[in-house]
Amino acid sequence: MRFDLSQDQKMLVDTAASFAKKSSPVARARRLRADPRGFEPAVWKQMAELGWLGLCFPEEVGGFAGRFIDLALVIEQLGATLVPEPILPAVVLGGTALAAGGNPEQRGRWLAPLAAGDLLVALAVWERGGRFDPTWCETRAEKSAKGWRLTGEKAWVPGGHAADLFLVAARTGGAPGEAAGVSLFAVDRAALTVEPVTTIDGRRAAMIRLASVDVAADRRIGGEGQGAELIARALETGCAGAAAEATGIAQAVLDMTLDYLKTREQFGALIGTFQALQHRSVEMFVETELLRGHSIEACLRIDEGEPEERSRAVAAAMVQVASGGRFVARQGIQLHGGIGCTDEHDVGLYFKRMQALSQMLGDEQHHLARFADLTQPARVAS
């Protein structure tokens, strides 16, 4: 085992860190909260030119065929200043599903412009009442003369407010809760109703509605009824990316809290000299390092080893995001005191993003249950 960065990875990290610091400090994320799009197309294009969007895509679509850990290193650095461009929803969630399930024609048609920064893709798999279970799919796809006809609703589609193309899970067979029978379809924005919604972290998502939408036969991604595995793969990759972003956030909160403890004076002393606060900071540091370890393991296993071990690592990382990551964010506010409870201070922005990351791709209970299912004897059905 080795955990040091290669020369190429070092360059990637340096570039991303300097981009975050110079081109997208936290003030930018703060300003873009009020923007209906929430990010800037010119910056998105710049990210494409830096090669980040296509980092993990195959070379034939203009990608660099890199490992997921490379993209995760970029995501971690961008997390440190809350860069709002939709890498996680469009590239990691949407891109992974297209790369894993698309045929060569589909990859060329959609993955190439995604890598070039010309097309935004969103993964629309959750439904009201499904609670993080993508197999809870009531949206139906009926066979029609032209291909398929889709009817249903999808909730909390990350980045859906700005997406051009939606990868929609719809049932071609089976019943809600069953993995078999879920298929994935690429649907143009114009064909469906998009209701943008604001999320707690100042970003956007969308509720979407499909009312008898005709979808051509060549727009099914992957085999008929075989979509659940693709979706699981995309979501696990998304979780690994979320863990990487959470690591960048935890580190940033720890750094700004330590700075505060070293400069804020009360009772005639720096508050960093108080033992209670020293111990709390050490706990924050410990949780941040544990999170970093979980994140590295999950991101590496996206490309390596057997699928069950990948799933275990991803579930464990998400539990640490929810427990350790949120502990760091909450204590970051607590140690800043009153100023930390204002909208003016940045620590609250990090706190809210951490909260969103811990709930948007399955919450703590969801990932605990998954981990238990993957590590303990099967439950006897009741």
Binding site: G129, F132, G337, C341, T342, D343, E344, G348, A356
Partner: protein, 394 residues
């Protein structure tokens, strides 16, 4: 020892409940139903209705318009109001400066201020913390000097002056003497917010709602008559008041309501076709929260019973702020967990999430402040370690 509540008190509880159901205006009731954030004008409207009934200030003596209730009835009244989710009344006049004036004010000050506090004709805010005087309040620097006519002239800045944007008056700790021990040069002043030289800058909280303000004072002239207690004696008054604020923050009734809401969310939310409330794991998490609340309730009852018999607050009262603030946060943390994906919502148009969930994310964020205001929990622990456990200091 005896846990029973007398039939008279039970009857009083029913009477209060029935009155609230009738007296709370429909629009406020609709907001209470979903625990929406109440704006200050709504709280004032409700206070006026309560005042007509004689219930705006359960703890005030009859002399100043209070209902003259025994401590248990006062507690019942407060608890029923909280449980019904009625607009919370601003504590700065009714619970803070009002009682303080009764104890330390001159006859003229009482006559001038108390009637308009209870009737909601005048709104108060609190000028304690400063940018460099938070937990270490005694290091405050807002200066009060005397002019030729004997008036105080105030210069400085106060922060976290909650609801200063609505306030007619502010009670302030100011430094009248910069020499000697820092606690000894502090005085307690009442300042008319309309005085020239006062500037209020509202700030948003992390919950996205306006509550905090910064308040700036530039050569603000305050008549000498507005001094409460002796000059240089403000720290004693400040401490008396802070002790009171700390028990208020226990918010037992509000947390009881929050637990009820958590249960409603669990009943109304479905996960893969099942109600959340039917999930044993969810049930045990809600149960664990409710048990923490019951523990807090007993601490509160013990403190109240002590007060009823005229005893000084015992050790149990010191844990109220500590544990009460944590329970408040845990109620919203659990509500967020139960909401699942809906916990992502933030000030969206109605209909995106069920009404009962709409305000949860904002309150979840804002209640991070409960372990900070009124003396941070770290400070509370220092106080308990030193004064209750008798541990040696440095």
């Amino acid at each position: 020892m005896d846990l029973s509540i007398s039939p008279e008190h039970e009857a009083f509880r029913r009477q209060v409940r029935a009155w609230i159901a009738e007296a709370l205006p429909a629009d406020l009731k609709a907001k209470a139903e979903v625990d929406a954030h109440f704006e200050m004008p709504e709280s004032l409207r409700w206070q006026k209705i309560l005042h007509q009934r004689g219930w705006a200030a359960p703890n005030w003596p009859t002399e100043w318009g209070g209902p003259g209730l025994d401590p248990t009835s006062r507690f019942i009244l407060t608890e029923e109001l909280e449980l019904a989710g009625t607009p919370p009344l601003s504590p700065f006049g009714l619970s803070m400066v009002g009682p303080l004036l009764m104890q330390f004010g001159t006859a003229a000050q009482k006559q001038r201020f108390l009637p308009k506090i209870i009737s909601a004709e005048e709104v108060w805010c609190q000028g304690y913390s400063e940018p460099n005087a938070g937990s270490d309040l005694a290091s405050l620097r807002t200066a009060a000097t005397r002019d030729a006519a004997g008036n105080f002239v105030i210069n400085g800045q106060k922060t976290w002056t909650t609801y200063a944007q609505y306030a007619d008056w502010i009670f302030c700790l100011v430094r009248t003497d910069a020499r000697g021990k820092k606690q000894e040069g502090i005085s307690f002043l009442l300042i008319d917010m309309k005085t020239p030289g006062i500037e209020v800058k509202p700030m948003l909280t992390i919950g996205g709602t306006p509550a905090f303000c910064e308040t700036f004072f530039t050569n603000v002239v305050v008549p000498a008559d507005n001094l409460v207690g002796p000059e240089g004696g403000g720290w004693t008054l400040a401490k008396a008041l802070l002790g009171h604020e700390r028990t208020l923050i226990a918010s037992v009734g509000a947390s009881g309501r929050a637990v009820r809401r958590v249960k409603r969310i669990a009943e109304e939310t479905r996960a893969s076709g099942r109600r959340l409330i039917d999930d044993p794991l969810v049930r045990s998490r809600i149960a664990a929260l409710e048990i923490r609340l019951r523990g807090l309730q007993m601490a509160n009852y013990r403190a109240l019973a002590g007060a009823q018999h005229g005893k000084a607050p015992g050790p149990e009262s010191s844990i109220l702020k500590l544990r009460g603030s944590e329970v408040t946060q845990q109620c919203f943390e659990l509500a967020m967990e139960l909401m699942g994906e809906d916990a992502l919502t933030w000030f969206n148009e109605p209909g995106v999430v069920p009404p009962i969930e709409e305000w949860v994310p904002s309150s979840f964020c804002y209640t991070r402040a409960t372990t900070i205001y009124g003396g941070s929990n770290e400070i509370q622990k220092n106080v308990i370690a030193k004064y209750i456990l008798g541990l040696p200091g440095k």
